[in-house]
Amino acid sequence: MKGWGIDMWGRLSLEALPHDIVTIGGVVGGGLAVLAGVAALTYFKKWGWLWREWITSLDHKKIGIMYMIVAVVMLLRGFADTLMLRAQQAVFGAGDGGPISADLFQQVFSAHGTIMIFFVAMGILFGALNLIVPLQIGARDVAFPLLNSISFWLFVAGMMLMNLSLAIGEFSTAGWLAYPPLSGLEYSPGTGVDYWLWSIQIAGIGSLLSGINFLVTIFTMRRKGMTLMKMPIFTWSVVGSMALVLWAFPILTATLAMLTLDRTIGTNFFTSDLGGNPMMYVNLIWAWGHPEVYILVLPAFGVFSEIVPVFSRKKLFGYKSMVMALMAITVLSFTVWLHHFFTMGAGANVNAFFGIMTMIIGIPTGVKVFNWIFTMYKGKVSFTSPMIWFMGFVVTFTLGGLTGVLLSVPGIDFQMHNSLFLVAHFHNMIIGGVVFGLFAGITYWWPKFTGFYLHEKLGKIAALCWIVGFLVAFVPIYILGLMGAARRLDSYDPSLGWQGLFVVAAVGVLIIGLGVVVQVAQVAYSIWKRKELRAPHDAWGGRTLEWYAHTPVPEYNFAVLDTVKSRDEFWQMKQENRFRSKSTLLPIELPKNTSAGFLIGMTAGLIGFAVIWHIWWLVVIGVIAVVGLVIWANLREETEFELSVGEILRHEKSMKRAGL
C-alpha cells in the first residue's frame, strides 16, 4: 500500500528526474542560464524594475517586446533540437546506437515541432501584432489591455510547462500533433503526452483571447477616417489571421480537452476500443491545424506588403486585389484540412474535392507574389536587409508553392505523404514564408521601438546564411523524399545510401546556425553601437502611421488623434506637408499596471502541472485561485490613470529636444 506521502504527490517522485546524459546536459545548461539571469537581476537590484516596468505592465508595446524575447529564446531551444535531430540522422542513423535513443529522438522531434509552431512562430507573431497593430491604426492601445496581459502570461505558462518536461518527467513521443491511439493511455502511459496537452492547451487559450482582443481592436479603435479600405495591408492580414484564430482555436481547445479526458478520467473519445474513434481526432486536429498555417503566414504576407512599397518608394500594386486575395485565403483555408490525410481511405470523390480546394488557394497566393513584384516595377528599389529577406522569401516560397501543389494532387500525395518530401515542403513554407517574413518585419520595425537601426551588413549576411542554408538543408531532404525516405526516422538501412544527403542537410543546418549566430551578434553589436546607428522617427521613409509616432514610442503612442485622409496616410502627410495638427491636446487615459495577468497565467500553469502529475489537491487549490483571481481582476476599480495635458506636453518637448 502506498503511504500518504507518495499519494500526496500523485505520480511525482524522484524517478521523474532525467537519467540520460543528453537530457541532463540540456537541463544543466538551461538551469545555469536561468540561474545566471536570476543572479544578474539580484546583483543589479533589478527585480523591482522587472516587476513594475515589465511583468505587471499593460502597455501593448512592452507586452510585444516580452513576447519577442520569449519567442527568440525558444527559437534557440528549438534550434538546438534541430541540431540533435540532424546530427543523429547524419552521423548515427545509418549505424546503430549513438548517444540519442529512439525514445529520446522521438521526444526531441515532438518538442521541436511543438516549440517552433506554438512558442516561436506564434510568439513572434503575437509580439509583432502587439507592437504594430495599435500604432498602424493610429490607436493608443489595444481594446482590452488586461486581457492582453493575461494572454501573454498564459503563453509564458505554456512555455514553462513545455520546458519543465525536460527536467521533471518526459515529453511526448507522439509527434507534434499526437495522433491517438499512440497518444492514448494504452501506448503512452507516461507524462509526456500530458505535458504536450497542457502546454499547448494553456498557450492556445492565450492565443484565442488574443484573437478576440486584436479583432475588436481593429474593428473599434481605428483612427477616425480610416475606413476598412484605407487600412494598412499588414492590419488587413491580421484581420484574416485573427479571424482564423477565432474559428480554429476553439476546435483545438475542445480536441485537446477530449484527449486530456481520455487520458485523465478514462473517457473513450479517441481510444481504439469501446467505440472510440481516433479518426475523429485526426479530422478535428487538422480542422485547427490547417488554418494554423495561414494564421502564421498571412501576417508574413502583410509584412512584405509593407516592406516592398517602402523600399521601392512606390505605393503597393493592386491594394484591392491584395485584400481580396487575403480574404479569399482566409475563407479557403477552412475547406482543405482533409489533404493532410488523403491516405486514410476516404473515397476518391472526397479526396479529389479537397485536393482541388487546396490548389485553388494557390491562385490568390500567386496573385500576391505578382503584386509584390510589380510594386518594384517603376520604383526605386534599395536593397536593405529586409529586401534581401524578401528576395529570399519569393524564391523559397515559390518553390514551396510548387511542391505544395504537387502534394495537393491526391494521386501524387499517395506517394509522398509522410515522406521527407512532405517534411521539406512544410519547412519550405514555414521557414521560407513565415520565418523570413517575421525576420524581415523585426529588422524593419526594430528602430521604431529602440531608436536605433540593426546593423545592416550583419543583417544581410544573416539573411544570406538563412537563404543559402535553407536551400542546402532542404533540397537534400526533398531528394531523400523522392528516394522513399519516411519522416521521423532515427535510423535507416545503410545500404540505401541516404547518409551522404543527410550529411549535406546537416551542413545546411550549420549554415543556418551561422546565420543565427550572426543575428545574435547583430543585435549585440547594434546595441553596443546604438549611438552611431541612431534612427529618426521615420527610419526608412515609411508610409503608414506607426512611422509618424515618436521614436521610441511614448506610452500613449500619439498625443493627438487627427483624422486619417488616405490609404498611405503618413506618406501622403509628407507629400502634402500637413503636420500641423488641428486637434487640441486633451488628457489621455491609460491602463494602470496590474499583476492579475501574471498571477492568472502562473496559476493556470500550476493547474496544468498538478493535473499532469495527478496531484489533485493542488488542482483544487489552483482552480479556486484562478476563479478568485478572475473575480478580483474584474472588481478592480479605477483601472486607469490620467496623463494631464501638461505631462503630455513635457513629454513631447523632451522628445523633440532629443532630436528625434
Binding site: 481594446a143 476553439p250 475542445a254 478514462g266 467505440g275
Partner: protein, 193 residues
Amino acid sequence: MKQAAVKFTNYKSSLGFWIYLMTDCLIFASLFATYIVLLPGTAGGPGPKDIFQMPLVLTETLILLTSSFTVGLAMIALSKKNIKQAIWWLAATYILGVAFLTIELFEFGVLVSEGHSWQASAFLSAFFVLVGTHGLHILIGLIWLLVMVIVLLRRGLNSKSSRQLGLFAMYWHFLDLVWIFIFTIVYLMGVAS
C-alpha cells in the same frame, strides 16, 4: 420626465463578448460533431433510448427557459433603475440555475450508479462531456451572477456593473440556446431514433 437610460452596452466589450460567444459556440460545435460521430459507439452498452429520462430532462428545459425569462425581467427592472426588483429577479434566476444543475447532477449520478459512466463507451463519453460542458458553463454563470449581485448590493448600479449585467444576460440566453440544441439533438432525437 425623461429618464436617463442606463447603458447596458459598451461598443468594445459587447463586440468582444459576442466574438467570445462565437468561439464558445465553436467549442460546442466541436463537441456536437464528436457526439454525432460517436453516437453508434455504444460498445454493446446502452444507447440514447435506453438511458434518457425524458420527464427529468423536460423539467430541466422548462427551468432553464424560465431562468432566461427571469433574467430578461431583471434587465427590464434595471433599465428602470429599480435595483431592488432586479435583485429579486436575479435571485430567482440563481435559484432556477441551481435547480437545473442539481437535476443534471442527479441524472448523471443515476447513470453512473447504474454502471453507465463516461468510461463505459464512446457514446457515453461524448454525452457526459457535451452535457457536462454546458453544465460547467451554467456553474460559471452562477458564480458570476453571485459576484455581480454582491457588487450591486455594495456599490450600486454604475456604468461598469450595468455593462457586466448586460453581458451576463447575453451569456445566459446563449446557454439557453445551446441547451435547446442539446435538448433537440441529444435528447429528443436520441429518444426518437
